[in-house]
């Protein structure tokens, strides 16, 4: 047997656990007769023992927590889904939202008449709701499908759905003064003119009421 080509190749095969019985017999036979190969084989076994003895290295302390801290943020949608799976009652609430949204769309399309949340002392003329001079509305005001003209005073939030706010008639007398700084209402003004805003507005209201319901408990 050729030492360098055949015998050494068999030694490596032996170390890989690939030797057939016949090959093993041949290798053993050769090793008994050849001291060079015996020595080579011994060195190879020693080498593998040494490599194995370098032992496993351990990851630094806090390795796992460092990895976790550096992971990309979990997708919100997925977290939300998992949350819903774990909370079936809220899933029911989600279904309710979907149903509610579909009715919202219908409402948006069908409801074209001017409506206003308070009627006392207010005038409605040509799709415009007017708070006449000298009249003070106490509380929030919601106007749908119409514009709002404030000549008097509103102590509360104003929400206009599918309409605009029209500055009071006194405006022309106040030329030179930025009319937007003049507030005839004490709260916030919300104008909702697009379907997605409308949906958002509805959702916000629904969520607000759910939260206040929750906090009542």
């Amino acid at each position: 047997m050729d030492c360098n080509k055949q015998a050494v190749a068999l030694m490596h095969k032996y170390m890989d656990g690939d030797l057939t019985q016949e090959e093993e017999r041949r290798l053993r036979h050769h090793l008994q007769a050849c001291s060079t190969c015996q020595n080579h084989f011994h060195e190879l076994k020693k080498t593998t023992t040494l490599i194995k003895n370098t032992g496993p290295v351990s990851a630094p302390k806090n390795f796992t927590s460092n990895v976790m801290a550096n992971l990309p943020k979990e997708k919100k949608k997925k977290r939300y889904t998992r949350f819903l799976q774990k909370h079936p009652i809220l899933t029911a609430a989600a279904v309710f939202f979907i149903l509610m949204f579909s009715s919202v769309f219908t409402t948006w399309n069908q409801d074209q008449q001017v409506t206003v949340s308070k009627q006392e002392n207010l005038e409605i003329r040509d799709n415009t709701v007017i708070v006449p001079e000298g009249v003070t509305v106490n509380g929030d005001l919601v106007v749908r499908n119409g514009d709002l003209r404030i000549e008097g005073q509103i102590n509360g939030d104003v929400t206009i759905i599918n309409g605009d706010i029209i500055e009071g008639q006194a405006d022309h007398q106040l030329e030179g003064i930025d009319s937007s700084t003049l507030q005839a209402y004490s709260g916030e003004l919300t104008e909702v003119n697009k379907i997605h805003e409308w949906v958002w507005y509805q959702t916000k209201n629904a969520i607000t009421s759910i939260f206040s319901f929750g906090s009542d408990e």
Binding site: A59, P60, F63, P72, R82
Partner: protein
């Protein structure tokens, strides 16, 4: 254990990030070992191992659950490390010695800190020497040797990790072992 890991992977795929923690915790030493033995430097090894886990996480949906997770993970780690070695190539030969010594620092520091008995210090020095000799191997031999002697990884797994035929793995293991034999026979 593989079953536990597969279950965790399913949870991660569903979007449960926290399930990934057990996976990292279970494989951290193995992955770090591969990176450290191949790159030779503790800081870079940590960086690479961390990057490997992050990539595994972001690509978890591409992992086929019927396959062995360790193979898939080690492949990511090995590829990242080989890429890093390639980028360092221009000064690779000059660097080998220096990078070997960084390992030495780590071991000798350990030895100094803990005031080990003499034979253990000797064994640490020996380990450093072997570590250095593995690092001195060309990367293609180094990778197979590191993987082969990490938990006696089967040749078939190494072939999958490195995406080369089993025959090539065997040839490289043989040559790597021969190269190390020449360096280590007088130890």
């Amino acid at each position: 254990m593989e079953t536990m890991i597969k279950q965790k992977i399913k949870e991660v795929k569903k979007g449960d990030q926290s399930a990934f923690e057990d996976i990292v915790s279970f494989y951290q030493n193995k992955v770090y070992h591969i990176c450290f033995r191949m790159i030779g430097n503790a800081y870079e090894a940590e960086d690479l191992a961390q990057e490997a886990f992050i990539r595994a996480y972001t690509n978890i949906h591409t992992f086929d659950n019927r396959r062995k997770f360790s193979t898939w993970l080690y492949r990511i780690a090995t590829n990242l490390t080989i890429d890093r070695i390639r980028k360092k190539k221009p000064d690779y030969h000059l660097d080998a010695q220096v990078r070997g010594t960084e390992g030495l620092d780590m071991y000798s520091q350990l030895a100094a800190d803990q005031a080990l008995p003499e034979e253990e210090v000797e064994s640490l020095e020996l380990q450093t020497y072997i570590h250095k000799e593995i690092l001195a191997l060309p990367p293609k031999y180094r990778s197979v040797i590191v993987l082969r002697y990490l938990d006696e990884l089967p040749l078939q797994d190494i072939a999958e990790i490195l995406d080369i035929p089993v025959g090539t793995v065997k040839t490289r293991v043989h040559r790597g072992r021969e190269a190390l034999r020449k360096k280590l026979r007088h130890v």
